[in-house]
Amino acid sequence: MPHVTFIGNEEKRLVERLQKGDKSAAREFYARYANSLAGICMRYISDEEDLKDVLQNTLAHIFSHMAEFEYRGMGSLQAWAKRVVVNESLKFLRTKAHFEVLQDNYDVVDESEDDVPSMGNIPPDALRQMLSRLPIGYRTVLNLYVFEGKSHQEIADLLGIKKNTSASQLYKAKKMLAKMIKKYNDNNSHDNE
């Protein structure tokens, strides 16, 4: 699917139309951004059933705060929408689980290997599936750390956990992911043989 890009002032005009309550602009907004917002959401949630709820809340939040949004150049609307979908995903996950509780439920630190194997052969969708198999706490921390560029302190504040918990969950997430990737690579190389 093509990456969402805007030519000239289209994004700015879209903002202006949304700020005037233009319903057709709302549809246009969704048509342009929904797939990429859904892609982000699917990194966080494990069940596709929940996707609609999160996106619904995401758009409701965006539309209700449109008046306060200030267009700051090309891509700023999309960047804001991405932040909102991350927040709404977290909000949703919070209703499902307490991140703190999950920290020691899984023991994955039994593998000796340190590095994550190359994921060059893994399609994004398979990678997303691996993420969805991670326990909710690991997955959330990994998402925030790797994709949203948050520090452990920021993650701790966001999720209401300790900074150390965030670090250890990332470590465990990495271990678990490495295992999955290795398995995937092994399976695929067997297929090729």
Partner: protein, 359 residues
């Protein structure tokens, strides 16, 4: 900390998309219209309303300035009417005092001084100026006796007022500062400074000479940039160009000479503004600061302080329309030539225009 596996993952998932489900648009449309009321018309109404407010402020400001003028001028001109010239009785009285100063008696209690550094030729205009008012000096009101000694009776022609100095005599309360707006559409201001120089005592001829100054509204253009320091404080600086122009009509033996004079200033203002109140598009603020101006045709530097209350209407994120009625104080520039600013150091001004906002 950004390890290889993380980079690899970021790249893999950067453009990751997922087919989005259809949403419940009924609810979303409600959210959208409730929080973003369709305001195309409202917006225009508000823009028109804001423009009207700004025009009103400008109008009131301008009117009050003009009104102020009227109060200044009327007594002078009124007294003129009450002081008919008694030509014969005045013989060879001179209203000229000292080499470089003319004294015209504007009214029994008011004496105006105009400095006359050097004569300068002016373009003759044959048309008679019906508007020219004459102010007569009568002997009874003429306090300085000594003046006569200093005047050379042989000087048949009336002293010609050096235009660039006559300017200084003008009342300039209504200094209008415009930054983008052309103030030429505004009413001009007039002032007549008349002299009755009676000479050539033997013949009894009377030469009534008057100087009528028609002052255009001083115009200031500015290119200012404003920088927001905090939420409420902002700084503004830039360049201004100020032009003072006047038509000077000197009437001399029923002949009118008209000259146009212009004084140009380039100025560097520095203002600090504090926002008092702000809605989405409309704002009120106070601003104050200083300005240094350089007269282009002469050496003096002019310092001034100013303060104003401003109203602004945001047209877009970058442009706003504003009106600032204010007050300015002009310091002495240290030169021997008096200027408007020195004659009336405190004056009201009104500036309005378009502002470009830097974030």
């Amino acid at each position: 900390m950004n390890e290889q596996w993380m980079k690899e993952m970021q790249q893999k998932m950067a453009d990751y998309q997922w087919p989005a489900p259809e949403l419940s648009w009924e609810e979303l449309d409600q959210v959208l219209t409730a929080n973003n009321p369709p305001k195309t018309r409202q917006l225009w109404l508000r823009r028109i309303a804001a423009a009207a407010i700004i025009l009103l402020i400008s109008g009131v400001g301008y009117w009050s300035l003009q009104h102020h003028d009227t109060e200044q001028i009327l007594p002078t001109t009124a007294s003129v009417d009450n002081q008919p010239i008694d030509a014969t009785s005045q013989g060879d009285r001179y209203t000229v005092r000292s080499g470089n100063h003319l004294t015209g008696c504007l009214s029994p209690c008011e004496v105006a001084e105009v400095s006359v550094p050097e004569p300068e030729t002016v373009t003759p205009v044959s048309a008679e100026d019906p508007d020219t008012l004459h102010i007569t000096a009568t002997e009874e009101q003429q306090q300085p006796r000594g003046v006569e000694e200093k005047v050379q009776p042989t000087k048949k022609n009336s002293p010609v007022i050096y235009p660039s100095d006559l300017r200084q005599r003008k009342h300039l309360d209504n200094r209008l500062t415009a930054k983008v707006y052309m103030s030429s559409t505004m009413t001009d201001s007039h002032q007549t400074v008349s002299f009755n120089i009676k000479q050539s005592g033997f013949s009894g001829n009377i030469h009534e000479d008057s100087i009528h100054a028609h002052h255009r509204q001083p115009v200031r253009f500015g290119l200012l940039l404003r920088y927001r320091l905090t939420n409420r404080w902002s700084m503004e600086s830039g360049l201004t160009y100020t032009r003072l122009s006047s038509d000077i009509t000197t009437t001399e033996d029923d002949k009118n000479n008209v000259t146009e004079q212009r004084i140009n200033y380039i100025g560097l203002p520095l203002n600090l503004s504090y926002e008092l109140w702000k809605s989405l598009n409309f704002g009120l603020y106070v601003t104050g600061g200083g300005m240094i101006e350089k007269r282009l045709d002469a050496s003096p530097w002019q310092f001034s302080l100013n303060g104003a209350v401003g109203a602004e209407y945001k047209l877009t994120n970058y442009f706003s329309l504003y009106a600032e009625p204010g007050i300015g104080y002009y310091f002495k520039d240290g030169s021997s030539i008096p200027t408007i600013y020195q004659d009336r150091p405190l004056n009201f001004n009104l500036s309005f225009g378009l502002r470009f906002n830097l974030k």
